[in-house]
């Protein structure tokens, strides 16, 4: 599966994104599962909500980190997230 620029991207309802103080990181929680996220993954996943599109996510992160050219990396991660069922996209 690959991410479509026109579609809305949200976290899958069976997954929960949560900040873990003890480990100083975000984790993704789901039935009997736990993914420990690095900073870039967690920054992207935090924006997979409110019917954001790919361009919203790219713009928000490029603004936040005052840089450009993030789109290829973001697409790569979102494709992985789609394959793992962490996020959904809909028209």
């Amino acid at each position: 599966m690959s991410v479509e620029p026109t579609q809305f991207i949200n976290l899958s309802p069976t997954y929960r994104l949560q900040w873990e103080e003890a480990q100083d990181m975000f984790v993704l929680l789901y039935p009997e599962g736990l993914v420990e996220l690095n900073q870039s993954s967690s920054e992207i996943l935090q924006l997979c909500k409110d019917d954001n599109k790919l361009s919203d996510i790219v713009t928000a992160l490029e603004e936040k980190f005052s840089c450009t050219g993030l789109e290829p990396d973001i697409i790569n991660f979102l494709n992985t997230a789609l394959d793992n069922g962490w996020i959904t996209q809909k028209a």
């Binding site: 599966m1 309802p13 069976t14 929960r16 949560q18 873990e20 003890a22 480990q23 984790v27 929680l29 789901y30 039935p31 009997e32 599962g33 736990l34 069922g85």
Partner: protein, 371 residues
């Protein structure tokens, strides 16, 4: 050993075995075969202390298990307390005696997910393996779980008697609307080890099952996630048991014994600490049991110089003990183990059906075996 170790990583998974009581009698149960002699159970307040201390250390995935956790009257209270602490809460249940009111009550308490086990795809075989009439009720419970918006894992333990039902089992999972299916080949600990000769599938049965699992994994992609757990006996290389001893998992048994793995209480002279005597922090960081197999100082050959020692950590120590009598040995599942024949012999034996009847897990049999 102490002092030379860096601080261990914090526990992230807590398995709360609330009770050994269970209305089912599955002959592959992972509970200890002498469970009937272990009568004390932690109180509600004890469990709350354990939950709080574990959460403070970093545990975030929480499984309520047993036995049958629904037999504990304080289950909803413990779920609610855990939810407020920020755990992701999983209930691992047979579904037996669960009704819609309970499913709603637990949802309101903040339960995140329910895993229901079904023993087979047919009523006759399910009820035989479970030792209790439960098939229709379990299917009904599974439907109610979905109705009330929980994610659902359907767990089916596979063995010689039901592995031929793979297709029917997967069709049933689709029909019931499972989000995840765990097809777990039996692991031979506890009761399963006692019944091993009757439970082990033949190589041919396993090959057939794997083909079916792969087909459904492909056709259900994006709809239902299927985990097919290959039995380690047939793998040639050991599993990275518990993601490494004392690195990730913490099990608390019904009587308060803290275990680095849920089979560890069978290891002799191991002195597992009890939460009645120590805090979770003391147990995790300082106890002999939790430090025992951390790192690789404990290793003998062939593990000590093995290139894979940081990948599989020598495999499973409980299995090494069960099959070779010494938990320090390499897991004999490994084809580099000098005692690997203990596993290949068992596989060869499985080609012939065992004459022995299955011994069901119940208090009478537990006492029989341990007196």
């Amino acid at each position: 050993m102490a002092g030379s170790l860096k601080k261990p990583s914090p526990p992230r998974w807590l398995l709360a075995e609330l009770t050994y009581a269970c209305p089912l009698q599955c002959p592959y149960c992972s509970n200890p075969i002498d469970y009937a002699n272990i009568n004390s159970e932690l109180s509600t307040d004890d469990w709350k202390r354990v939950l709080k201390q574990s959460r403070e250390m970093g545990a975030v995935q929480l499984g309520f298990s047993g036995g049958e956790p629904l037999t504990r009257k304080d289950l909803t209270e413990l779920v609610s307390y855990s939810h407020d602490l920020g755990y992701y809460t999983n209930l691992i249940t047979s579904g037996y005696n669960m009704d819609e009111a309970k499913i709603i009550e637990l949802k309101e308490a903040g339960l995140d997910h329910i895993q229901v086990s079904i023993q087979a795809s047919s009523k006759e075989l399910n009820d035989f393996i479970a030792g209790t009439k439960s098939f229709e009720h379990k299917k009904n419970v599974a439907q109610l779980i979905k109705k009330h918006g929980y994610p659902m894992v359907l767990c089916v333990v596979l063995h010689r008697e039901n592995i031929h039902q793979m297709t029917e089992i997967l069709e049933m999972a689709i029909e019931l609307g499972a989000d995840f299916v765990e097809l777990a080949n039996t692991q031979y600990y506890g009761w399963a080890h006692h019944n091993r000769d009757q439970l082990m599938p033949t190589q041919q049965q396993l090959n057939d099952a794997e083909v079916i699992a792969n087909e459904y994994q492909a056709s259900q992609k994006g709809k239902m996630k299927i985990y097919y757990v290959v039995p380690d006996y047939y793998e040639g290389r050991p599993k990275a048991c518990m993601n490494g001893w004392g690195t990730t998992f913490l099990t608390i048994a019904p009587d308060g014994l803290a275990l680095p793995c849920h089979s560890a209480r069978q290891l002799p002279n191991f002195d597992c600490p009890n939460v009645n005597d120590f805090s979770i922090q003391e147990i995790w960081n300082e106890s002999k049991a939790f430090n025992y197999f951390r790192g690789d100082d404990w290793m003998k050959e062939p593990c000590r110089t093995c290139k894979d020692k940081d990948k599989d950590f020598g495999g499973c120590h409980c299995q090494a003990f069960l099959l070779t009598g010494d938990a320090h040995n390499a897991d004999p599942v490994c084809n580099l183990s000098p005692l690997h024949h203990t596993v290949t012999d068992a596989i060869a034996n499985a080609e012939q059906p065992s004459e022995q009847a299955l011994l069901f897990r119940n208090s009478k049999n537990s006492k029989l075996l341990n007196n």
